[in-house]
Symmetry: C2
Subunit: 199 residues, 2 copies
């Protein structure tokens, strides 16, 4: 439908997560229709953020300062480490206010079939950190997907002699979810992990 | 949650239509996580599109060439004119393949309370075009909102002596819609405009 520069913009916008063909078309038109100053400001702030953010040398989180604000926070528990896949996951867990320790971002999950091994998830850096900082508790906050399960088993096996407590996020039917629409593996797991209702 | 440059990017992304706080946060993280070349390409293509697109001097559509590809298309019916509010509307109507004439983009709808009058919808330019090009048919493809209705009545009143056929898009219950969830004005209109079922 579009051609030239506008088609190029539409294509680029479509490469973003959650932006389908219709949204990309609407956004492209919106960007060239809105006040020029404001749309150029959007472009500039993308450029500036991309150029300013890098992985924290301690925990791999994307940050403008190095080390990041989590690694340098004196009030956080530095014996507890939450292991996540992405920077976004850190912010989602922060939203819960349930974890007060430090973080470690794997950036990827193990996937032998795709050639993603221990080096790609910064495993030796993690081991070094766990030893140097004498970590006592690890929370594996990884997706219960094939890659997540592989990574959870790998990390638990290799860290169990170093860390007294290694846990993973609870699995089951999500709040607001529906048994009717749950997959069989989810239901099997939910039955196996059923727990006593407190009175 | 975010601070500094990333918070600024999040805020700027939130100013786009359909981008809520959660999507803005996810997109911001995604933009600084993806391959640097690709995210800078997105920023550049916004800048380039914004700097390249302007309103067509003939019909007001946003275009990189002037006059636009619709105004200069020899195969299009230059006696039929579809009047729309925005450039996006032109592309939505083009998707239907139901209209083969030319377009005129008002850029706004009349809204006396907000001080938006005939000058803001390029009314004198429209009248001039209708006269110069001897337009025989006008399709008013405007939203059936308060502002759209005001604009439809205004344009129909002022153009009726110049143009033999002036129509507006059909109003009623949308395909896939539900009587139960239709507003009273929609139902009143659907009853008034009911039509014989062909056998």
């Amino acid at each position: 439908m579009f051609s030239g520069i506008l088609a190029e913009l539409e294509k680029n916008l479509k490469s973003l997560p959650g932006i389908g063909p219709k949204t990309a078309q609407r956004l492209a038109i919106f960007l060239i229709s809105m006040e020029k100053d404001k749309s150029l400001q959007i472009a500039d702030s993308i450029t500036e953020a991309v150029n300013s953010y890098h992985n924290c040398s301690e925990c791999n989180i994307l940050t403008a300062e190095n080390p990041c604000k989590f690694c340098t926070a004196p009030e956080r528990d530095n014996k507890a480490l939450c292991i996540v896949e992405t920077t976004q996951d850190v912010y989602l867990i922060e939203n819960t206010h349930e974890f007060q320790g430090k973080y470690f971002v794997l950036t990827k999950l193990l996937s032998p079939l795709d050639g993603i091994g221990p080096n790609d998830i910064h495993f030796s850096k993690l081991i070094q950190k766990v030893k140097n900082e004498n970590i006592q508790e690890i929370v594996l906050a990884l997706n219960p997907s094939a890659e997540g399960e592989t990574t959870i088993v790998f990390l638990a096996t290799n860290l169990k002699d170093l860390v007294p407590s290694i846990t993973r996020l609870s699995t089951g039917i999500p709040f607001g979810g529906d048994i009717e629409y749950s997959s069989t593996p989810t239901l099997i797991n939910a039955l196996k992990r059923r727990y006593t209702v407190k009175e």
